[in-house]
Every structure is written in structure tokens, then in C-alpha cells.
Symmetry: C2
Subunit: 378 residues, 2 copies
């Protein structure tokens, strides 16, 4: 549909460093997208995102279509006018949230009750694109069928086949309204659970449909990290190399780096901001519970190896106090640090790919972030 949407700058094995090209401009990969659920990354402002170094934010279609409503966002200038943030927005289709709640799924789409006012709402592949067009994100995602893992092979197959039929309807809907998309990129989504052969088959079929990029969905939903990576690996090779690949919902530092090593370009996750709100810092020594009593008189920064604005200005002792006093600034400052820390890790990954040394970085991160019981590199 569009021209090349991914420009390669360098590789290290299967890992890629490059740029995703959109109508708005481009952003560097590998990249991590914080989640701006209701038109804002919780507790953070547009200035905060700029200063932390965010390039792309994920906005949740489900929440925005219900409140304030896509028409309101459109009237206020789309997501960029609405939020005042001028970076890139990617919108999900809303399907993931809808299908986590009680809903009625059929071949046409999915029916669900609004969590805000209890009204019945319907989301279809075509409708999800219409809403995202009104939101004016830079990248839209197709509506797919998400299921929880572990799942029977038959259920995975059925969900994956329907996802493909919905992908075809999405492409047709976009062609029908060509020009209406106004330069919005459209990503298909590979499903297939942990069934390696289904992942490959679905990816191959999706690859031929002419999408601008590809999400890998339905992972990090209950399976082990090893299962995640095996399933991921199976769907990457059939995808065209001139298109970005986006592993949806993954944010833990080690899985993220291993996925980069397999050839993933984009990630999103609520992890850094959710952990931050609840008092857990991401640091070069692993997770740190900032509320811990031993930090009461600690004048040092959260992470001495971090150069973010929070680490430059605030002590562990002060941040601990803010959490203990119930001050919402605490969660805000730790969200800011966690995002800046993760952006910095992604930047190091990009540099490592370009220098052909990603393996070293993966080992370094594994030494700190490998799950308990697993040795580094396992």
C-alpha cells in the first residue's frame, strides 16, 4: 500500500536497527512504546514524555472510543491535537481489552458492554479501523481474535483463521476508503498461540496481504518466556524484511532483548509505568522496591548508573518518603525513571546491533534479569 515502511540501518545476526517511516516522519528502532491508556500515559504529561525520550506512544482504542468518544477526539484534532503530544501514536484495535471482558464473539465481530456506562457496543474489523481513523493515530492495528494461553490447538486454529479473515476484511475496508486513511499505516497481527506450525502458516498468509507492518499478538499471556521466544521466532522469518515487526505487550528487559535478537523492532507494555506507580524501580541491578525501610536516609539516586532527570535530582530517601506519605508525585517520578531507563536500554540495544555486539548486551542483561532459578543465558 505505502512504500517502504522500514529502513534498515544495520543488523547483528537476525537483530535489526533501523527506522520506521510514517506520514509524520520516522522513529528509531528497536523502540519501546509506553501505554497511554486514556489519552495520557498515567500520571505523565506530554512534556514528561518529551523529556523522558518517548518517540511513540500506544493509545487504547477501547477506552477512547467509550470516553470521551472517537468523535470528540476527532473534533479536538485527533490524538495529537487532543493530547498536545506531537510524537508518534500507535493505536491498538480495542480487541484485546474487549476480549478480556465478557463479550459475544461471532464472525462479524465482537459485542461487549461498556465498562463506563454498561451500554452494548459492537466492534468489527471495519469499525475498528473507522474509530482509529477518527483518532488519527500514525499506525493503526487490525482487529484480531485474542485468546488466553494455555489453549487447545483447535481453539488456537479457529481464532487464528478468523484473525486472517478479519485481516482480509481490514485490507478491503482500507482499499475502499483509500485516501480516507490519510497516511495512517496499517499493521496486521500474527496469532497462533504457542503452536509453532500455526505461527508460521499464519505469518506466511498475512505477509501476502500487503500490510505496512506486523504485530505479533497473543504472546506473554501466561506461557513461559521460552515458549514466547519459540513461538515468536516461528512467525518472524516469513514476514517481509522491509516491514516493521512489533511484539505486542512485552516489556520485561530480558525478553525484550532476546526478542530484538530474533528480529523484533517494536514493543509496548504497561510494565514500566505500572511498576513505577507501585514503587518498583527498574535499575541496572534489577528491580528495586523503593519503599524499603533501608532507603529511609539514603541520599543516593535510584540507579547510580542512570542519567535520567529523576536520578539526577532525587534521592531514594525522598522517593521512599513520597510513597510512604501517599503522595502521587512518587508514582509519577518513578514512572518517569522507569521509562527513561527502558528507553536508555533500547538505545543501548540499537547501538549494540550497529556495533555487532548485541550478544554481549543480552548476556549482561541476563545476568541481572534472568528469572530466579534460571542461569544467565538460559
Amino acid at each position: 500500500m505505502s512504500g517502504a515502511t522500514f529502513e534498515l540501518e544495520g543488523t547483528d545476526g537476525r537483530a535489526r536497527a533501523g527506522w520506521v517511516k510514517t506520514a509524520r516522519g520516522r522513529f528509531a528502532t528497536p523502540c519501546f512504546m509506553p501505554v497511554g491508556t486514556r489519552g495520557t500515559v498515567r500520571l505523565l504529561s506530554a512534556e514528561d514524555l518529551d523529556r523522558a525520550g518517548a518517540e511513540v506512544v500506544l493509545a487504547n482504542t477501547y477506552h477512547l472510543m467509550l470516553r470521551p468518544g472517537a468523535k470528540v477526539v476527532e473534533a479536538l484534532g485527533g490524538l495529537h491535537g487532543f493530547t498536545g503530544w506531537q510524537g508518534h501514536f500507535l493505536t491498538d484495535s480495542g480487541g484485546y481489552q474487549v476480549m478480556s471482558l465478557p463479550c459475544k464473539l461471532d464472525e462479524d465481530g465482537v459485542e461487549f458492554r461498556s465498562a463506563y456506562d454498561g451500554s452494548w457496543q459492537r466492534l468489527t474489523p471495519e469499525g475498528a479501523l473507522e474509530v482509529q481513523a477518527a483518532l488519527s493515530s500514525d499506525i493503526a492495528m487490525v482487529l484480531d481474535v485474542c485468546i488466553a494461553l494455555p489453549a487447545e490447538r483447535d481453539a488456537v486454529l479457529e481464532a487464528g483463521e478468523r484473525t486472517l479473515r478479519w485481516a482480509e476484511r481490514s485490507v478491503a475496508a482500507r482499499e475502499a476508503r483509500e485516501g480516507g486513511g490519510a497516511g495512517q499505516l496499517l499493521f496486521g497481527i500474527v496469532q497462533g498461540g504457542t503452536e509453532v506450525d500455526l505461527r508460521e502458516r499464519f505469518a506466511e498468509r498475512l505477509a501476502g496481504m500487503g500490510f505496512d507492518g506486523f504485530g505479533i499478538g497473543g504472546l506473554s499471556v501466561g506461557e513461559t518466556p521460552e515458549e514466547t521466544l519459540t513461538a515468536l521466532s516461528a512467525c518472524l522469518w516469513p514476514l517481509p524484511s522491509c516491514r516493521p515487526r512489533y511484539l505486542m505487550g512485552v516489556g520485561d528487559p530480558l525478553t525484550l532483548l532476546r526478542a530484538i535478537a530474533l528480529g523484533v523492532d517494536m514493543f509496548d507494555c504497561v510494565l514500566p509505568t505500572r511498576l513505577g506507580r507501585h514503587g518498583t524501580a527498574l535499575t541496572s541491578s534489577g528491580k528495586v522496591a523503593v519503599k524499603a525501610g533501608r532507603f529511609a536516609c539514603d541520599a543516593g539516586p535510584i540507579d547510580p548508573a542512570c542519567g535520567c532527570e529523576v536520578c539526577r535530582r532525587y534521592s531514594r530517601g525522598y522517593l521512599r518518603h513520597l510513597f510512604n506519605a501517599g503522595e502521587p508525585s512518587a508514582g509519577r517520578l518513578l514512572s518517569l525513571h522507569n521509562l527513561a531507563w527502558l528507553f536508555c536500554l533500547l538505545k543501548r540495544a540499537r547501538e549494540a546491533v550497529l556495533a555487532g555486539r548485541l550478544g554481549e548486551l543480552v548476556e549482561e542483561v541476563a545476568a541481572t534479569w534472568a528469572p530466579a532459578g534460571a542461569g544467565p543465558g538460559s
Copy 2:
């Protein structure tokens, strides 16, 4: 004790524009101090205070002495090291909070239960200064006896006389530990309720004790704005003109400007931040309820006449959405706007004093901010 603590730059009638001089440097007056209850202005960071234009922040001794404790703040470098904010801090004595709760008052001091752990605590004039020395604020306040209005004249007299005895003990305590204060200014506090003759008498006696500045306390606690201004006027003339005068706890725009016209230099109040957290904006057209339905699709700023960072970037429609979605960013952005708006009003007041046109500004503000039922200028 110190040299001149107030440098006059210009007057307009009784109104003054000048500088308060401290060991840290100086700040311009008239000035408004936001309230940083627990070592942070709720929802705001040190960067936010800098960008909004804050020069002085009030920190609450009551809260900090109980959590994290004055010794912890001292170990982390006093309020400046602790909070990471390098502007001026004024600390209150803790008396106002303590005496708003059930407590046992005697000639020695006041005993109260900690709101945090229920333990019994004691605050004396000497102890309040010790705590504030540990907090290392730039300006400390004496412990005074606060009573609610309306009150019997006898009660006002008794509280005021005890306040004077405590003021004498505070001066003696400071002299005993001279050098220990490390350049911290000490302000006395004039009490006297709405009894004009008591206000005058107490101010005269306090004026002779050698304080670095003077708080006017016990106002804006239930009396009418006219009663506030009459009582205020009575205590200002006996105070030395080379010392700053601080009207405690007043933040509504019109009373603030009228107090400036009477010769007040400093103010503090929770009003702008508390209103902001609850969805009310201070604007050049008066108070605006940002949550109102009519703003849903309004792309305009909160106050078209305001140049603050919030008004430059965010629409009423977006801020309304953030409030309706329960996003804490909403309260943060509106707190930022309200503070910036009030700082800007104070700056205009300063310029008006220097230009000999404060009366015009008071009339302009009265036209918008006079209480319902009262005509402009009444």
C-alpha cells in the same frame, strides 16, 4: 538580629514592592507561596515549581516532623537536599495543624497525638525552632496560639498574650543557640482575632522583639473578608517597614490584592492547588469548573489570557476528559496552571505598585472576583 531583611523598591500608597533578603539570596515581593505539605506541593515536582515560577514554598513542620521525621530530612541535607528544590523554603511552626486537632494546650506548649501512628507528641516554642533548624528552611515561624473565629474577646486576649510570651521564649531560644540558626530568618506572628485594638497592641509589642519579619496569623478562619482586612490593617502600621509582612493562609485573588494595597508582602494558601486538584481553574474571568459538559469539544485553553505552559499546550476539552477519566494528570496540570496564574497576578501587582497603578488592578480584579452580592470595589 540580622541586617535589613526587606529591601524596598517602590511604593504605591501603603503598598510595597521589594525584596526579602535571606542567607540563600532574595526573592521579589509581593509573593505567593504554594503549600508543600509533606515535602512536596501535592502532585508537583521540583521541576514543575521551577517552570511555574515559584520562588518560595511553604513546608509544613507538623507533617514533616512526624513523617519522615526532622532527623531524616536533616540527614538528607535539610529541605533543599531532601526535596531537590533549590528555591526558598519557609516552614510554619506546626502549631496551626496541631491546634486544629484535639490537643492539650498549656503554658509550656501543646501536646497532641500523631495522625500517623497515634503516639503522643509535644511541641513547645523552643522545640518548634529546633525542628525547623533541622529542616533547614530559609525562614522559620514562631509557635503561636491559633483559635477559630468567631471567638470571645477574653479568649482572643488570652491566646494573644500567650503568643507574645511564646514569642519572647522563641527569641531567647534563638539567642541561646546563635550560630546554630545558620542564617535562618525568624518571623514572629501577630494574633488578635478581629479585635482591632488587640491587633494593634500585639503588633506593637512584637515589633520591639527584634524579629526578621512578621506573620499575621489567625485570619481567614471564618470571619468575613471585610473583617479580615480591618484586622489586618490594624496590625500593619506598628510593624517596622524594614521587615517583611506575611499574611498567613490567604489566597483568594481579591483579598490578596487588597492586602497588598494595605502593605502585605507575602502570602501562602492551599487554595490554588486544592482547587486545581478538584477541577476548578483560576482564570481572568473568575473560577471555571473544567469538568463542565460544555467544554467536551472545546479546543481553547483554560484561560486565553494566560501564557502558562498548560494553557499553551492543552485544551479545555482534553483537561475535562482527564478529570472525567479519573487521570491524576488532570489535577496536576490544573494545579500547575492555577499556580502560574496566581504568580502572574502577583507579578502584575508588583509592576502595578512600581508604576503607581495598583488601584486600577484592584478594581479590575474586583470586577471579576468580588463575592456574589457585593459590587465591584465594595
